[in-house]
Symmetry: C2
Subunit: 229 residues, 2 copies
Amino acid sequence: MGYVQCNLVILSQAHAFDFLLYCQRNPKACPVLEVTDPGSAEPRRIAPGADLRTDLARYTVWRDGRREPDRTDLHELWRDDLVAFLIGSGITFDQALERAGVPTDKDRWVLNTSLPTESAGRFAGPLVVTMRWLTPEQAIIATQVSARFPFNHGAPVHIGDPKAIGADLTRPLFGPPVEQVPANRIAVFWACGVTPQAAAEAAALDLLIAHAPAHSFVSDLLADRFCTP
Amino acid sequence: MGYVQCNLVILSQAHAFDFLLYCQRNPKACPVLEVTDPGSAEPRRIAPGADLRTDLARYTVWRDGRREPDRTDLHELWRDDLVAFLIGSGITFDQALERAGVPTDKDRWVLNTSLPTESAGRFAGPLVVTMRWLTPEQAIIATQVSARFPFNHGAPVHIGDPKAIGADLTRPLFGPPVEQVPANRIAVFWACGVTPQAAAEAAALDLLIAHAPAHSFVSDLLADRFCTP
């Protein structure tokens, strides 16, 4: 809690420009914090000395679009043409939300929507969102607090009716199925770092590696140093 | 005044990844607002319908690192592999500064510094800054106001002694030479959009096109829609 957390996407240099462009065109979902040089597994700006092949607890791997068993070490897969992208995560502002009285430990889902992202090359797909149920007062506070973290998804992209953005409550990507939003709560939706990972997965690249869900990269950078006033 | 203004850099697709990466690594100096698809001169996100070959008043052109005469139309030079980058400009927040009582029409310089930027591929070079002389009260207000525009250089990178960042007052890139900061003023320094243009110029590309100084791209987007709370 309180440290900058990052989603990880690793792909080959041949696809790196299109993927970086995809992120640039969808900055709320894909705030790029660092791109390593080809073949380098060290994120020397965010975490000098770290090794992205071993320093996450679990990795998901796809070859030609097919998922393989998860791994805990990437040395066997590593190649000189691989480029790693560290992308901001909304978990980064959990502590700031807690400090402001907004609970972060429950009632949270990752959902597909019907909103398209801006494509770049072969990367395209729907916006994926994180939904929380909050009281109206918490929703207003959470909007203000998260807006101060523009490099970790920032302010919500939607508030209120899930149907307005085609959010699929019946089949969450993360969290149990839900029937409807409780009467005394309002749904708040943030752009989610699963968006770029899903776009990369759909592109069926020769090799794609990402952090496994809930096993993102935790840096030593204080989240409060990455926010605006 | 009050509209999003953009610096323009145009180069070939072969160099586009390294240049986009250079911008990503130096976000305060190089906040990328849009990258066009190769061969397209329409910035369809920032200004749908605009034509970047004609809609700036003057362009500077370099071939193999040598400057050619300025142009007012790029049709003759246009190629299918050219990619245009629109980069945020500090002029975007001039109106917000004026509204807060900070004058923006004088005492402003563009200076080289001895601070290095993070390199990417062949793109490297010093940080270029915009310096203004302000009263201490104005300096504090200007820091708060500009911090609300993270996609247009944001908060200052330095305040006070020009020597601390190696700012060369004797040879400004823009503005008359100056001897020293007046006693009742404090120098405030912002990362400047000339930084990526200078890095691209130093890379001596086969073809490089940029807006001519003081002839940047003015969009119809309200600056206040691009700022944080």
